[in-house]
């Protein structure tokens, strides 16, 4: 436990625990309402790894583990009820499996979600977040994005490339705008920088734009409210924040971009307790926490057309720390303890860190 930064800012990142694993971990997710987190990845021999760690008095103890047929690339608890603890995993073979952590060996739901690897996954409707039915969305290398409801074997909605010639990998998906039982939106990011916003109630695309760099991570600040802010992280170390409250007819949503690192920023995760604070995990192993400062007025009227357009604010760095030499590939804030976070790094470690004094922000 090394000393953290010697800065005068109150917030600091404390590296609490670290544990080596003998596989490449790709995802780390807190098990809701617990001091445990689930890590998934792929063994060198190509099989999938799923382990549940428990924080126990200064140590990480493996509480459950299973080896799966194929590697697991992404996972989420987002569509699980609190009592169930169902982890939805996307596999290398394109399968979507939902595992009950109490019976980790056989999935409670499985579907062949994509024809090749499932790159990204998100869940909504579980954990008392969002309204409406719990749903899982997966995005794959085959360029398709599919939304699943575990009560049905076939997907409930899909976004597929029109022609098979120009298929772009889908690298990031997230749910948002789930403020009542029917409304929900899915935002998808592709490897060429395309963003597509799909409204699930009307089943049509609301917004498409290209940000020039491949989009690796994406998250709405809150899933259960009217779309407020969308944060994306891309290759070339860029982070973009879009104001989703004001839609301009020709220019869409207003966004700002900030280059925060030389390497890829792998994910952006909003703090469950404060929707204007989010973390970024970068390819050089640096974990940073940012705060979005709103502008004085969030929208202005076009002088000539009278249309409203959004105005973006500024990003301020709260604190940062280099926790590893290899990329931090996955990061998750705990919903139950402010500042507690687990992450998976490509140096085959899983780590637990605490960011202090976030309540002061």
């Amino acid at each position: 436990r090394s000393m953290s930064t010697l800065v005068t800012k109150p917030q600091q990142v404390i590296e609490h625990l670290a544990q080596s694993v003998n596989y490449t971990p790709f995802t780390a997710n807190w098990v809701p309402c617990s001091a445990r987190f689930a890590v998934c990845g792929v063994h060198p021999r190509g099989t999938g790894a799923l382990q549940v760690f428990k924080m126990q008095k200064g140590k990480l103890v493996v509480q459950a583990e299973a080896e799966k047929k194929s590697g697991i690339k992404c996972a989420t608890f987002g569509a699980s009820f609190y009592e169930d603890r169902h982890l939805a995993c996307g596999g290398y073979d394109g399968s979507l499996n939902v595992f009950d952590l109490e019976r980790i060996n056989t999935p409670v739901f499985t579907a062949q979600a994509h024809t090749s690897i499932v790159n990204c996954i998100d869940g909504c409707g579980g954990l008392n977040i969002g309204f409406g039915a719990p749903e899982i969305v997966t995005g794959g290398r085959d360029g398709c994005v599919r939304v699943w409801d575990v009560r049905q074997a076939e997907p409930v909605a899909a976004l597929e490339p029109a022609s098979s010639s120009q298929v772009r990998d889908c690298w990031a998906v997230c749910f948002g705008n789930s403020f009542n039982d029917q409304e929900r939106a899915v935002c998808c990011g592709y490897d060429n920088g395309d963003i597509k916003l799909l409204d699930l109630r009307m089943n049509k695309l609301l917004w498409e734009v290209n940000v020039k760099n491949g989009i690796v991570g994406m998250q709405f600040d809150r899933k259960e409210i009217n779309m407020n802010k969308l944060v994306l992280t891309t290759l070339e170390g860029q982070v973009s924040v879009y104001d989703m409250r004001t839609f301009h007819k020709s220019e869409g949503y207003a966004g700002m971009t900030k280059k925060i690192s030389k390497s890829t920023v792998w994910s952006a995760n909003h703090l469950p307790q404060n929707r204007d604070v989010f973390s970024t995990a970068a390819g050089n192993g640096v974990l940073s926490v940012w705060q979005y400062e709103y502008p004085d007025s969030r929208k202005i009227k076009d002088a000539d057309t009278g249309e409203e357009r959004g105005v973006t604010g500024k990003l301020k760095e709260v604190c940062s720390k280099k926790v590893s030499d290899q990329p931090i590939i996955s990061f998750d804030w705990s919903r139950d303890k402010l500042g507690l976070a687990c992450m998976a790094c490509l140096d085959q470690t899983v780590r637990v860190s605490i960011v202090t004094k976030l309540n002061l922000l």
């Binding site: 953290s4 600091q12 409406g132």
Partner: protein
């Protein structure tokens, strides 16, 4: 490891540096102590959630909104905003593997349907009774009522699917099974019912997948074994490339009329019959031709001309030598009329032989030989499929080394004898291959006299159409002892 973006340690004076370090250390220890406390309290909540003594979810499981767009899957085409219904394509690409275990959540949902619901149970019993009485349509109605009472009951859908299956409405059966599996992914009965349905519909791959999944779920289930066999048979009959189904096809060659009768009157939904329906058209035309004479008649009429080869192969011991020259001479002109007098029986045999593919291993060859070895034409058609690439040569040599006897060689010779002139090259290659078989010389010595005559004639024919030197080499190999008159008893 330290990254600083503010005044560095070096720029602060030692005293304040020490102070801030101490503050940091204190802060860290307090944070960690607080964390330990939190760990303990959250663990107890965690356990309570797992036990079921604590419930946090605000909406009850049955109060969940319905599955989105559950009736019509819309696929948005990402290049043209707007829904495009590509439900069929979607079904293919999203071909689902069902869950492998009943889940707590699913059990909750199902119980909401069946347990304690008296009306539902009564209706279900009614439906079961109707089903037993084979009143399929009424049973369907009864189960439909069950579904109306409890829309999330997998049992009702599965039972209705069974009714549709009995009625032959396989599409509806498939849909209902799928619905049942959607509601209860571990429902083994629905799974294998769907496998059988899909087998009927011709989707053999999907059927096999379903059966295998069911077996994984319930390995000890006996019914599943039979289902698997049925589905496998259906699948393999379709491709008709293995000896086993061909055997039934061969049986039909020998008793064509009987098979026709079976197909027309039998309405049992046994998967085997479907495949016979495929075989029969091939047979039927032939049978119609030979119906008036009967296959045996045509055969015997040929027997006078050429087919005495058959008696020759079966009763070689009694074949008198003088008959040989006459036969040999009659052979050559006979070979031409042989083509012209192609009859239904010949077509039958040839078709039978052709249906069998070249053997990939010993059992296949043995089976084929047992089936059609006695029939020269059929056997010839079979042998004609042998290819003489490197690997095949080795394979055939191995096969023959294991099973070749002089009787078999006699059959082969008879079969090769029926080859047309342009096929003699192949015959020669096969004969050559046989010379490489172990114990060949012994076998060749014991070759019955009649066969030796046939072989000689055959080789003579070959010499006219194929490289004479090769023929000579083969001839020498077969008649190494120089004794062509050996008439050993079998």
């Amino acid at each position: 490891r330290n990254s600083t973006t503010r005044p560095t340690a070096a720029s602060m004076d030692p005293l304040s540096l020490q102070l801030s370090m101490r503050q940091r250390a204190q802060e860290m220890s307090s944070v960690l102590a607080d964390l330990d406390e939190w760990e303990a309290s959250i663990s107890s909540r965690d356990k309570a959630l797992g036990d079921g003594s604590l419930t946090l979810t605000k909406t009850a499981a049955d109060a969940l909104p319905a599955v989105r767009h559950s009736d019509a899957l819309s696929v948005v085409n990402s290049d043209n905003p707007g829904p495009e219904d590509r439900a069929a394509e979607e079904a293919d690409t999203g071909g689902a593997k069902r869950a492998k275990a009943k889940t707590k959540k699913k059990a909750k949902v199902d119980q909401g349907a069946g347990v304690g619901n008296v009306e539902f149970d009564e209706e279900k019993q009614r439906g079961n009774a109707l089903f037993k009485a084979k009143k399929w349509q009424q049973a369907v109605e009864s189960y439909s009522k069950c579904i109306a009472i409890a829309p999330r009951s997998a049992v009702a859908y599965s039972n209705r699917a069974n009714c549709y299956f009995q009625m032959g409405q396989f599409d509806k059966a498939d849909a209902d099974c799928t619905k049942a599996l959607g509601l209860d992914a571990g429902y083994v009965k629905a799974m294998y019912r769907r496998a059988l349905t899909r087998s009927k519909l011709g989707s053999h791959e999907a059927a096999l997948a379903d059966v295998r999944r069911a077996i994984k779920l319930a390995p000890k289930n006996r019914t599943l074994r039979t289902v698997l066999k049925t589905v496998k048979d259906a699948a393999s009959n379709n491709t008709a490339s293995t000896p086993a189904p061909t055997q039934s096809a061969v049986a039909t060659a020998n008793e064509p009329r009987r098979k026709l009768v079976v197909r027309e009157t039998d309405s049992d939904s046994d998967s085997d019959d479907d495949d016979d329906a495929e075989d029969v058209p091939v047979r039927r035309t032939n049978n119609n031709d030979s119906n008036s004479n009967g296959a045996s008649n045509t055969r015997s009429s040929n027997a006078v001309l050429i087919e005495d080869v058959t008696p020759a192969s079966t009763s070689t011991a009694t074949e008198p030598t003088p008959a040989a020259p006459t036969r040999t001479t009659s052979k050559q002109p006979a070979s031409k009329p042989q083509q012209q007098h192609a009859t239904a029986a010949e077509h039958d045999d040839a078709a039978t032989g052709q249906r069998l593919k070249a053997p990939r291993n010993l059992p296949e060859y043995e089976m084929a030989f047992r089936t059609i070895g006695e029939s020269p034409r059929a056997f010839a058609a079979y042998l004609r499929q042998f290819e003489f690439g490197e690997t095949q040569r080795k394979l055939y040599t191995k096969i023959f080394s294991a099973v070749l006897t002089h009787e078999m060689m006699a059959c082969i010779v008879s079969a090769l004898d029926t080859y047309a002139d342009d096929q003699l090259e192949h015959a020669l290659s096969l004969l050559q291959l046989l010379t490489g078989v172990s114990r060949f010389s012994m076998i060749a010595v014991f070759l019955p006299g009649g066969s030796k005559q046939t072989l000689t004639a055959l080789l003579d024919r070959c010499a006219q159409h194929v490289d004479a030197a090769r023929v000579e080499a083969v001839r020498n190999a077969y008649f190494a002892t120089g004794d062509s008159d050996s008439d050993d008893s079998d």
